[in-house]
């Protein structure tokens, strides 16, 4: 097992002031992600959590530069600092350049929600993983296959030598996701991006895949960017968490901190929207957030959450709050944090 020493200092990946804009010929530009700062520590897991349309997947795709042609990164940096190479700003690379292609799939790899649609249906899983290894490394097909079999074994696929010759449709959803993970790990990546990897799976299979990812992270020492909408999964797997709403990271910090003392009204609202595991007598009615997420076109001018925020006050609709430090490593974009409370005033 390659134990990667934590030689280099500082974070593995830093997103600094990153914005992503989608343009179309007959509509105004849509800012899908605006001024996002994120830090991925080496060997740690950052969970990016939010509801559909908040920009979490777009952010992840920007890191690999696999965004749609209509998307652009008008501002910001994506600094990737692997252990044994110079830091590079991914945001400035040409998506099709050799430099980007040596990173994509090799140093940074990705697994997706639906393994059926992200694996080729007409190639065996062994061939697909072999291809990945041969593409990035100088090995013979035979050596590649041996490594594929070792990888399949490591991700817990029974009978890996035979299963390497199976087509994706011959595997169950859980096994397919395992094959997908094996492929992502085939080049010992420094960073694994997992985009809702367990959402399509049953709970018991989900628990197994989360176990596997934790185990592999210990073995390989890779960092993980874990995208999910499920706060339960975040609590299970993350070291750090960033909560996104309508293209903004509204709150980020250590997972224990954020769950113990959520600062942003959106984070709190999300948490009170999930049923707690309680007995009938202790049960409280859920407190959902009113209304629905507006489209990025109708994003409020100030804080993006101000149109639904139960505690919004005078500056919220007009002025966009800056991230404010609300604890060690804990930052929140909310005017309430900056405001001093009047005597006797209570914020619910």
């Amino acid at each position: 097992m390659p134990q990667i020493p934590m030689a280099a200092e500082g974070p593995l990946l830093t997103l600094d002031d990153l914005s992503i804009v989608f343009s179309s010929p007959d509509e105004a530009d849509i800012v899908a992600v605006r001024q996002v700062d994120l830090t991925l520590r080496r060997g740690k897991t950052l969970a990016l959590v939010g509801e559909s349309g908040c920009g979490k997947s777009v952010t992840a795709r920007a890191i690999l530069r696999i965004l749609d042609k209509s998307a652009a990164i008008p501002s910001g940096q994506i600094i990737f600092s692997p252990d044994d190479a110079e830091p590079v700003d991914i945001a400035t690379l040409n998506p099709d350049s050799i430099a980007m292609r040596t990173i994509r799939g090799n140093r940074i790899s990705m697994i997706f929600q639906e393994p059926m649609s992200s694996l080729s249906p007409v190639h065996t899983i062994g061939d697909q993983i072999d291809e990945m290894i041969i593409l990035h490394e100088r090995v013979t097909p035979k050596q590649a296959r041996e490594r594929t079999i070792a990888l399949l074994d490591q991700v817990g696929i029974p009978g890996p030598r035979e299963r390497a010759d199976a087509y994706p449709f011959q595997l169950s959803g859980g096994l397919r996701q395992r094959a997908m993970i094996a492929m992502a790990l085939s080049c010992n990546p420094d960073l694994l991006i997992a985009d809702e990897p367990t959402t399509a799976l049953d709970v018991t299979t989900q628990a197994q895949i989360l176990d596997l990812l934790r185990q592999l992270q210990d073995d390989y020492g890779m960092a993980m960017l874990f995208i999910t909408h499920d706060l339960g999964v975040v609590a299970e797997i993350a070291d750090d968490v960033a909560v996104m709403y309508l293209g903004d990271v509204v709150e980020q910090g250590d997972v224990f901190d954020v769950f113990a003392t959520p600062q942003h009204p959106y984070t709190r609202a999300l948490m009170s929207s999930i049923p707690k595991m309680q007995r009938k007598a202790e049960r409280e009615r859920l407190q959902p957030i009113q209304g629905t997420v507006p489209s990025p076109k109708d994003r409020p001018q100030g804080c993006s959450f101000s149109s639904r925020c139960p505690v919004a006050f005078e500056p919220c609709a007009k002025v966009r709050p800056d991230p404010t430090r609300t604890g060690k490593q804990h930052r929140t974009r909310c005017h309430l944090i900056e405001r001093e409370l009047k005597p006797g005033e209570v914020i619910v």
């Binding site: 049953d202 018991t204 339960g232 009170s272």
Partner: protein, 347 residues
Amino acid sequence: MNDLIRVENLSKSFTLRRGLVGGLISLDALKDINLAVRPGETLAIVGESGCGKTTLGRCIVKAMTPNTGKVLYTPENGETIDLVGLKKRQMKPWRRDIRMIFQDPMSSLNPYMRVFDIVAEPLRIHKIAKGRELEDRVATALEKVGIDPAAGQRFPHAFSGGQRQRIGIARALVLDPRLVIADEAVSALDVSIQAQILNLLEDLKDDFGLTYIFISHDLGVVNYISDRVAVMYLGNIVELADTETLFERPRHPYTEVLLEALPIADPKRRAGKRTEARGEIPYIGNRPKGCPFHTRCRFAQDRCRNDRPELRKIDATEVACHFAETIELRGAYDSAPRPHISQKVSP
């Protein structure tokens, strides 16, 4: 008080052709299901994909006809009717009483129909109202679910996922049903919208005196909304108890596995490595002999591999496990970190 629905010895199998020249094979989707739905309760049916929960719901509304068994329905007049034997025309009056809400609000609403017509269609089919009265009833139903009746002339695509789910609920409610079967009705929704719909379902239940069969794979939601829970595995009910009993003291090893696998939104309760959920659900055409769960059960003995356990009563729980009295299983309400279950324990 009479049960609203009694399912007796219900079995349903599907026939598949194996390959182009192969023979027919039969898959048992439901095997010998016995279940009662009491008036006014919310009965949850939980299990993983392929366990038969949706098939059971569909057999109850008679969207599918079971191979054997009865679905006994007690309408308001108190007599008992077996829905299974009814012809299409004889079934029609009871379709007013038993309604369904589906998972995917996009594919369950006709994209070419206006919302008003979607909600009005059941009233028209059953010739219950027309003209002004029809309009009023549709408007009331839409208002009840939080949709502005003025938006009735729009098409489903103009609404968000949560709003579409509300329209689906309005369509179910417009006939004043007695039983609503909600099949994964909140699974496709974002958490904040899911909470709105759960609250709505609860309010409607109180307002209309409804009974729910709530089919779901999400035990957190089930614990929140249901009064009783039936756990299904490979076409069998393996455990049936009231919600608190089941979550406090599960009796079937599969129930424990499900509870353990549920991620809890509290990092302090992080489970660490878990190994209970070994293996995967077998293919339903390949149902293990004996107890269907024995291939993944940490307590499995020779007896489990040979005899199929029947559902039997222990205290307040019905459970299908040979060793239900002797095994100690962990519930879900402990707030302590969930420790790692040690290796195989013999009962």
